[in-house]
């Protein structure tokens, strides 16, 4: 199995009373609450953690979130470029530049190709659909974002695989009449592609395309549903059954020397759920296009009708969760190496296997030293015991360009 270190470079140092008073900790919180000196240290620490991963054979994830305490990695391609140069061995997954809020996918493809070349073919390209508040901070229409997502992927893929001079693209959402990027990608036909989603329709399409389906903080039940949908879609399309190398599971995770240490330090990552997800209603339940209008029947009311259940977006149901609940729901793996191994394998069995374990190993007030200790213990004591990924037949292997 491949392990992937995922760090969002959060900024937890805003006074709690400011956060309590704010209606959203994303998109609207003034950046005067972010000290650039502290931010500089955080960048240095988080990038060093990625370099430690490189030494230990743990792959790294380069994420992107905008304008909030939940992440300082807004300018994701810059971070990707640093990782491409400074790491030497491991794979680098961009998960990912927010393609639904960027106006020109060709430019994104250019950035990806550059990172692939700098890293000499170690890039993997993951697509995410963006968070609700990011439609606002990214000035992107939230209505129709799924169709825009797929057209952006198609255009990026076409850009990365075209090598014979300019082509023209006049799609519904994007037009670019003269596409011919330099340098081209290092890996051929293109770097492996992923997407993070638990939405069944998207998982099915990932299956047909053979892209890796990552589930981030969705728990085993939702992940199994997505993976089953993926398998079904491939079967219905007459494609070979996927190996576990097409499936990725992401959880908050901390390995300590003992259960007590693992749980105590790992619980700090729950800050991500309990503090950093707070979004104003206009950037969540009232934002058009993100939930079907039918969900309004319950979501718009402040006093729900008896017997009704709010139809929340996945992240919202995690706010206020305890460490025990998070472990029970497969959102958090924390404890000694043996315990974490058992927790991961329990999830593995429940979902029918996965070839990639993405561990969110630092969040909230979990500090740099603690993060590095957790990474080392996971790399040395847990990762070697996890089952190898099974390959997907006829999946096009990436190879270096001549």
């Amino acid at each position: 199995m491949q392990a992937w270190y995922h760090c969002e470079n959060v900024y937890p140092f805003v006074p709690q009373e400011v956060l309590d008073r704010a209606d959203s900790v994303r998109a609207s919180l003034p950046n005067k609450y972010c000290d650039p000196g502290i931010a500089a240290n955080l960048f240095a620490e988080c990038l060093d953690e990625h370099l430690l991963c490189d030494d230990l054979g743990v792959n790294v994830v380069s994420i992107e979130h905008h304008s909030g305490i939940n992440s300082l990695y807004g300018a994701s391609p810059m971070i990707l470029g640093i990782l491409a140069r400074q790491t030497k061995k491991v794979r680098i997954l961009s998960l990912g530049t927010l393609i639904t809020i960027r106006p020109d996918p060709v430019r994104i493809a250019e950035e990806y190709a550059t990172a692939d070349v700098i890293s000499k073919g170690r890039l993997e390209i993951g697509f995410v659909k963006s968070g609700d508040s990011e439609m606002v901070s990214g000035n992107a229409n939230p209505v129709g974002y799924v169709d825009r997502f797929w057209e952006a992927i198609d255009l990026i893929q076409k850009t990365l695989t075209s090598h014979d001079g300019p082509f023209s693209w006049e799609g519904k959402y994007f037009t670019h009449r003269h596409v011919n990027i330099w340098p081209p990608v290092y890996q051929r036909p293109h770097p492996p592609m992923w997407a993070a989603t638990g939405d069944p329709e998207t998982s099915a399409e990932l299956g047909r395309r053979g892209m890796v389906n990552a589930l981030v903080l969705r728990g085993p039940e939702a992940s199994k549903r997505a993976f089953d949908t993926y398998r079904d879609a491939r079967r219905e399309a007459g494609l070979p059954a996927p190996g576990t190398d097409r499936f990725a599971y992401a959880a908050l995770c901390y390995v300590g020397e003992t259960d007590e240490e693992g749980l105590q330090v790992g619980s700090k990552t729950l800050w991500f759920l309990n503090t950093s997800l707070k979004q104003s209603p206009q950037m969540s339940k009232f934002l058009p296009g993100r939930m079907p209008p039918e969900a309004a029947a319950q979501n718009y009311r402040t006093v729900p009708r008896p017997g009704s259940q709010a139809n929340l977006r996945p992240g919202q149901s995690l706010i206020g969760i305890t460490a025990e609940q998070a472990i029970a729901r497969g959102i958090l793996c924390a404890g000694s190496p043996d315990t974490v191994y058992r927790q991961i394998m329990d999830i593995y069995e429940k979902v029918g296997g996965f070839g990639h374990f993405i561990f969110i190993g630092r969040s909230g007030f979990l500090d740099h030293q603690e993060a590095e200790k957790g990474i080392k213990l996971l790399a040395k004591e847990v990762l070697p015991r996890l089952p190898a990924a099974t390959p997907t037949p006829a999946a096009e292997p990436a190879r270096a360009a001549e």
Partner: protein
């Protein structure tokens, strides 16, 4: 397209099916709704029906009107309503637009003045008048629901929708209207940068009615709008926000009726 008889609850325009509210008889009054579709039981509708045959279609994606694939721009909406005008049997039609529908009505009037006898714009959107760092139109998607509520109504406690009291069906329609509006008008937000240049083409008598307390688009925005339409009248309605037809239906109708008689 035929308006048909009786209540005429569906219209078909160039193969596009529209839900429509119809009331009254006489001079044709085409009513283009604002952020929300016209509630068939709203008091101003009956009052307006004393002055003509009111037809109020719900735009594609709004209310119960389906939205055809790739029908997703203000350009589509404007041409849909131009087509609707073309197919009306009457020589001249009175065009009335609220808010977002006021924008559409202004666009239609720019393109097709000769088919109109009167134009009434009620707190219309559609133009930009201030500098690049001063938004003219309240961002009803990005601003807090409390602020939007406060700025939309003179008396929000009495008139703003209460989601806890609304039926499931009404809430779904409300959300569907917001989704359609967002699709059409997210960017540029609720205006056409080119429109001010062409408003001078409007050659019919035009009345701009404005809620004095409107905080979505202020009366000053309305005055600027009016200056761009040659010969237009601008009138305020007291004790009303962005929806004077709902907060002050009698006064609203009095003003409209007076203008139609001129």
């Amino acid at each position: 397209m035929a308006l048909g008889n009786g209540n005429g609850e569906r219209l078909t325009v160039r193969g596009i099916e529209l839900e429509a509210v119809r009331r009254g008889a006489g001079r044709p009054i085409l009513l283009l709704h604002g952020f929300q579709t016209v509630n068939p039981t709203t008091p101003f509708l009956e009052l307006l029906a004393h002055h003509g045959e009111v037809v109020a279609p719900s735009g594609p994606g709004f209310g119960h009107s389906p939205r055809p694939k790739d029908f997703d721009t203000v350009y589509d909406l404007v041409h849909l309503y131009l087509e609707l005008l073309d197919t009306l049997p009457d020589d001249k039609v009175t065009l009335l637009g609220f808010s977002f529908g006021g924008w559409l009505a202004a666009e239609v009037a720019v393109a097709c003045s000769h088919r109109l006898d009167k134009l009434v714009l009620v707190d219309p959107l559609g133009i930009k008048v201030s500098d690049r760092e001063t938004p003219d139109i309240l961002d009803i998607f990005n601003k807090s629901p409390d602020e939007v509520r406060r700025k939309s109504w003179h008396d929000p406690d009495r008139f703003a929708p209460d989601f806890n009291q609304m039926s499931d069906e009404a809430l779904v329609t409300y959300a569907r209207n917001r989704e359609a509006l967002c699709l059409y008008a997210w960017h540029p937000y609720m205006y056409n940068p080119q429109l001010p240049r062409w408003l001078g083409r409007i050659k019919v008598p035009t009345l701009l009615l404005w809620g004095e307390s409107d905080g979505v688009v202020t009366p000053d925005y309305g005055r600027a709008y009016s200056r761009l339409i040659p010969g237009s009248q601008f009138e305020l309605i007291d004790c009303a926000g962005h929806h004077p037809e709902i907060e002050q239906p009698e006064i609203f109708i009095e003003r409209v009726a007076g203008f139609l008689k001129q």
